[in-house]
């Protein structure tokens, strides 16, 4: 292929280059190879014969021209047998044009400069932290200001309760049910060794009501709704809809963030109650099937096992988790800028962070409850 495109014949210090074939972008690899065969230097005179050229497009012409320019700067004189191809005239005109002033491109230091990298990351994190606190503050201010009938978007809040709460009931119930069956099954096997199967009821009840019910619900909701919040608001940002709201003097926090926050604050505790109920139902079912503890035995046992505070120890966490999920989701959504890749990245970040924060908050609750003997 390269042979066909370019043939060279040397006489003394003059080089005759005969071009042929199709110098088109389709043959770009072959063109590269052919041009690489030309000597780098040591030619005083280069004669280009393009008369048997079948086709030449701008890409081919540009590459040829660049190569010839480097031969020329190495001390060669370029001549054409016949007239140069018409594309050269266009390229000549092109390179003669004044280009707009180019600014210096700033180079980002990467891994190669670890100290700089560390510094930049630290500064970024610092700004990020301040930004997040500012966001929290803005939500609080907007929340206080808009607690008047007309400013509270009831329709929007209802929609979010429906989407984040009601629509999540099937998946939350199913998972709560299955997890409590698993807990009951495993604990029954262990407790049987001591003949203490009846304590399975205690174990399931406490695990579900204090921890599992609310934690699983929060994690499912973070995956379902945290991502939806980030994506919805992110797309609105990409479409300049947030700026449109600003321009109408409407506070986007009031219209977008607060309804989601309030909606989730209502929905998550309710979902938690559903999850608790389904968890206990799962425990009851497994106990009756596997341990021969009928429902009439299960319920009194349950009442003995539970302190009055157990249920509330779980439920009280739900609004906190809801606030974390809603705020992280909307915050990350608001950060989307410029590109669709950002949207994907920040949606992922929203889910990962809200799950992390939920579990972290749960750990803090656990310690506080132990200290308070709650």
């Amino acid at each position: 292929m390269a042979r066909e495109l370019l043939e060279q014949a040397r006489t003394g210090d003059a080089l005759t280059v005969r071009l042929g074939g199709a110098w088109r972008i389709e043959n770009i690899a072959a063109i590269e190879a052919a041009l690489a065969e030309l000597p780098q230097e040591g030619t005083r005179r280069v004669v280009i014969d393009a008369r048997s050229l079948e086709a030449l497009d701008l890409s081919g012409a540009w590459l040829l021209r660049e190569r010839l320019a480097s031969l020329q700067s190495a001390g060669g004189r370029i001549e054409f047998a016949g007239s140069p191809p018409s594309q050269f005239a266009f390229l000549e005109e092109l390179t003669a044009q004044e280009l707009p002033e180019t600014a210096l491109v700033e180079r980002r230091s990467g891994w190669r400069n670890p100290l700089g990298w560390l510094g930049r990351i630290s500064v970024q994190q610092w700004h990020q932290g301040i930004d997040a606190i500012g966001y929290l503050g803005r939500i609080a201010v907007t929340g206080v200001r808009s607690f008047r009938p007309r400013h509270l978007r009831v329709a929007s809040i209802t929609r979010h309760i429906y989407e984040t709460g009601i629509q999540a009931i099937p998946i939350v119930s199913l998972i709560a049910f299955l997890i409590s069956v698993i807990i009951a099954y495993l604990s029954a096997q262990q407790l049987r060794q001591f003949g203490a199967e009846i304590f399975t009821v205690d174990l399931v009840a406490i695990a579900v009501l204090r921890e599992m019910g609310v934690l699983l619900t929060a994690i499912i909701v973070a995956g379902r709704s945290g991502s939806a919040f980030a994506a919805e608001i992110g797309v609105m940002r990409l479409n300049d809809e947030i700026d449109a709201l600003h321009s109408m003097g409407v506070n986007p926090f009031e219209v977008l963030v607060l309804p989601r926050l309030i909606g989730l604050l209502v929905a998550l505790p309710l979902l938690t109650i559903v999850a608790d109920a389904m968890g206990l139902a799962g425990g009851a079912l497994l106990s009756s099937l596997l341990l021969d503890i009928s429902l009439t035995q299960f319920i009194p046992r349950l009442q003995d096992a539970l302190a009055p505070t157990t249920f509330w120890a779980g439920l009280i966490k739900a609004p906190v988790f809801a606030a974390l999920i809603a705020m992280v989701g909307t915050y990350r959504g608001m950060q989307v800028r410029d590109s669709s890749r950002e949207l994907g990245r920040l949606t992922t970040v929203a889910v990962v962070e809200s799950i992390f924060l939920v579990i972290f908050a749960d750990a803090v609750f656990a310690i506080v409850f132990v200290e308070l003997d709650f």
Binding site: I25, I28, L58, S59, L63, Q97, L99, V105, D338, R341
Partner: protein, 261 residues
Amino acid sequence: MATPSPVISVRNVVNRFGAQTVHDGVSLDVLPGEVLGIVGGSGTGKSVLLRTMLGLHRPVSGEVLVEGRNVCAASEEELLDVKRRYGVTFQHGALFSSLTVAQNIQFPIREYFDASPATLAALTEMRLRMVGLPADAASKLPSQLSGGMIKRAALARALALDPTLLFLDEPTAGLDPISAASFDELVSYLHRGLKLTIVMITHDLDTLLATCNRVAVIIDSKIVVDTLDGIMKNPHPWIQEYFHGPRARAAAASARPAGRK
């Protein structure tokens, strides 16, 4: 003078969406080396016609021949072959937002051919020069560009595979008059230099007057094609309104002295 065989030949194309007939037997020839402007009111199916010519939309009946091949009945491979011969710019640029301008331009080249990084860089540099973008635009993301630069970058990407045929969908929409005028100049310059055949949809009378050889007007689901002077004499009320309304007179007044120097 014998008419050269057309590059694109649209024959009796019918497009219907539900009960609404957009094109009712539209025929249109695009001759090699010309700049054809397509105009029409909103919703008359200019973009649909363009998409039909590109092979992105199959008409209800009729055929579209691009360089003698029927794109409406072509197989995937044949269509791909045709697609490699033309470049398109979309109304809003349609640059890939997660790639830099250079990566956007290199994308089609990388997709089809294997060129070394140095060659890709050289080809990108040439394309940027062709559309008059500064070299530092190469490393920018589309979101960091102004509207005019996005249009130019999109044009550079459309020219990446050295097409002989260029489709422009509203190339100057949303640009200020100065940027629009310099974009028109750019299109004319590339048309002269590269001997391209250009089909453009435009609402911009200045663009039409400055760049187009012939104009196709879509009215009442039909198409009327004529030279610019010919179409201005057409008695159809919509055409008269379009070319002789208050905006048209202003455009003509400003374009004529500049275009005829």
